[in-house]
Amino acid sequence: MTALLEMRGITKTFPGVRALDNVNLTVSRGEIHAICGENGAGKSTLMKVLSGVYPHGSYEGEILYDGQPVAFRGISDSEAKGIIIIHQELALVPLLSIAENIFLGNEIATAGVIDWADSYVRATELLRKVGLVEAPGIPVGKLGVGKQQLVEIAKALSKEVKLLILDEPTASLQENDSQALLDLLLEFRAQGITSILISHKLNEIRRVADNVTVLRDGATVSTFACERGAIAEDRIIRDMVGRDMAHRYPDRDAEIGETLLEVEHWNVWHPEQVGRQMIRDVSLRVRAGEVVGIAGLMGSGRTEFAMSLFGRSYGREISGTARLRGKEIDVSTVQAAIASGLAYVTEDRKSLGLILEETILRNTTLAALERVSKRSVLDTASERQVAEDYRRALRIRTPSVFQKVMNLSGGNQQKVVLAKWLFTDPEVLILDEPTRGIDVGAKYEIYNIINELAAQRRGVIMISSEMPELLGMCDRIYVMCEGALMGELGKTEASQERIMSMIVQGRQEG
């Protein structure tokens, strides 16, 4: 077996963050190579380096492909060599037909005039290869996600693919579609096509992968042959999560009091896709002074749960009850949810949490303008006082509260979002990925703020994809998988291995 691809000592830095640190990856000819790692471990970054999204020169290290050093300056360079990447977010144009999508940017044409007859013939041929029985003329938007994925693969095949990279291809697929896709991969292997499979789903890796590389915190942890047995699965879990946990989280003496928020039998359906249930019968509670975590992988329904609870900002046909201190509360609109004492710090602070072109001051008071106004007339003096108070309390580093938030660093932006919600004086705060994309120092400050909130007898629900963070911060952790709670772990019994195995178990059942 000779290596088709060798990536040696790849290091990629972004301002303030080292996304990849001396990563090595060797993929043999004709194998299916799985890459595992937690969210943010650097899997996608590595694939972007490989495919030329980050051009040669923007990273350190070297890439050998077919034994030759290569220097891709863009996706077109890597595609010319037969390296095709299929992203988690499909890159299809829904209103164009299957055939048009397959040959998009690569049309079968002479002098700019498309040969439709030939296009259809060749599209039909490609569809047969991927096992999709559809007419090539129908629009892609009419197909389900599973079939769209097959169209993407057909598109890759049309470009004479030698190395096919699939980024979490089954994340949004139903079970039987996933099985079909994996079978297709095995078939490609028989035909000599090499694949890289990025996946969280250990049972799938066990089924198809020959070798596994585990990444953690931007570095290669291990590469080993996948023996298609439970032993390999355990090892993958251990390598994915194992890291030193000393003193990355501030200490807190939890003084847990009465129950604040109780949610019971919460069910939510997908806003567009009829019959797709996103949240299944979720019940949970948060007590005063308690930090409760919700663990789970991306797409497990944590954000959907939080947003549906916070003023029905997500989903349809929401059912279930929410009680605060034993009394049922109205959470049917965002205004009502805020008035009931809830606050939700969104996962995506730039597009959902902040008004980037406005000042720190205006963002801080936005959710509680009535507290700085009399009969709808703003009191600019007290508004300024409020903004200054929060700036000091949360240590927002800025020359002035009149700075636009777009000019702040990620950590300071997150503090502005927190300030906005603290000013509504909530009883329960839901923090969705509160430390995503911010540096280590700012993370520690955010943890301190969370502990301070708990000390003020508020309840905190913390959603995070970083398991060590949940283990370091939470008094109790719920594990969510495919929209349902798989169980609940107390501080002493929780461990990354237990959470992971609960998730894996949920995946296999689902």
Partner: protein, 399 residues
């Protein structure tokens, strides 16, 4: 002591430069207006600022400015309203039918028309806000519908003349309460009062800013700006006084400008409209009832379009099926020349008003010079383009 003083002076001049640079857009538009006026004043041999012409300038542009106030809110909220010209024409026709053909009393007719305008705005805002149909489409439809309804209502003919009381809405003047007549002392007194109020308000705001340590504009700029603005107002009042005094419509317009400036700067409603335009999803997740505010913004636009339609009809003393054609373009252009952001979230009332005056002065000046309507359109189009390019360039430079 002297050493310390030079230090502060150096600091002052440094902030002066940087302040001018960062606020180039705001001052730029005012300076542009002054330059354009100076240019036409010279090339028309002083005709531009003759009392008669100045009075006409206000009468001719009042309805554009009034609609620009509403349009600014719509644009800040991230939308557009293309129907305002047709709506104002339709309301003018409606007023004519009620006054001339049915003989209803003037006050009642004005009230009905304003309510009607708000209802038209509501009908369009409903689809935009609650059904999320793009405002461009909804109001384009409204533009066609109300143009057609105007034709139908007036049966394709002009209807007039109006009763005297109605004409006063536009062509009336505030009588001289001091009995002098010429010059009109009331006009001068009101002008001085207005200038004094503006200076007092901005001095108070500045004092408050200094007390809280907010970096405002350097004192030199503050003083020069206020002196110029006050002088300009008093001078205009004096010019108008030597003709027939203050037009009624100028009073209406000034009150509205003041009210909408207050609304956008100092009320929660104003703040929330900016938030919606800045980031609608974030605004919604902050508990702002985005649908209702967008809806109300359109209602408000409808009512202002109705008022503009009444004033326009009163000025012509007849309602014609052609009334209000292409007004929407002037109104939208005024907002963008005045620095409103195309994607919503930014823009000022003062900017829109100055933008409207720039268009108005150019129209007026070019007409005096006898420049053909063909070239006028070309020049206005280029000015709009230049203003927006200047905006985009400025923004990209600030990064």
């Amino acid at each position: 002591m002297s050493h310390a003083k030079t230090n502060t002076e150096a600091a002052e001049s440094a902030t002066l430069g940087s302040h001018l640079k960062t606020h180039l857009r705001e001052y730029g538009i005012l300076i542009a207006l002054v330059l354009i006026m100076a240019f036409f004043q010279v090339v028309t041999d002083g005709t531009l600022l003759r009392p008669v012409n100045l009075t006409n300038l206000f009468l001719q542009n009042s309805y554009i400015i009034i609609m620009a106030l509403g349009m600014l809110l719509v644009i800040v909220a991230g939308h557009i309203d293309l129907s305002v010209g047709s709506v104002s024409g339709f309301i003018g026709g409606l007023a004519a039918v009620m006054l001339v053909q049915w003989g209803l009393p003037v006050v009642l007719v004005i009230a009905i028309c304003l309510v009607c305008g708000a209802a038209i705005g509501a009908a369009q805002g409903y689809w935009v806000a609650y059904w999320r149909i793009p405002s461009f489409i909804v109001t384009l439809a409204g533009m066609l519908v109300f143009r057609g309804l105007t034709l139908w209502l007036l049966a394709g003919q002009s209807v007039g003349p109006f009763p005297k009381a109605f004409q006063l809405l536009s062509t009336g003047f505030v009588p001289d309460l001091f009995g002098v007549g010429k010059p009109n002392v009331t006009a001068i007194v009101l002008g001085v009062l207005a200038a004094a109020t503006i200076v007092w308000l901005s001095a108070r705001a500045r004092a408050r800013h200094v007390r809280f340590g907010i970096e405002g504009e350097p004192f030199t700029i503050f003083a020069v700006k206020n002196a110029l603005v006050a002088l300009a107002i008093v001078y205009i009042a004096w010019l108008l006084a030597t003709y027939r005094g203050l037009p009624n419509v100028l009073i209406t317009m000034s009150v509205l400008i003041a009210a909408y400036t207050f609304l956008t700067n100092s009320t929660t409603i104003g703040r929330r409209i900016y938030a919606i335009g800045g980031n609608e999803k974030a605004a919604k997740l902050s508990g702002i009832n985005t649908e209702r505010l967008v809806f109300l913004t359109f209602c408000n636009m409808g009512a202002l379009a109705a008022l503009a339609g009444l004033i326009f009809a009163a000025r012509l003393n007849t309602a014609t099926p052609k009334a209000g054609v292409s007004f929407e373009l002037d109104v939208i252009a005024a907002c963008f020349i005045g620095g409103a952001s195309m994607s919503g979230g930014a823009g000022k009332i003062v900017g829109a008003v100055v933008g409207a005056f720039i268009m108005g002065v150019m129209n007026n000046g070019m007409s005096i010079l006898g420049i053909g309507i063909d070239y006028q359109q070309v020049i206005k189009g280029l000015v709009l383009l230049a203003a927006v390019i200047f905006d985009v360039y400025n923004r990209s430079k600030q990064g």
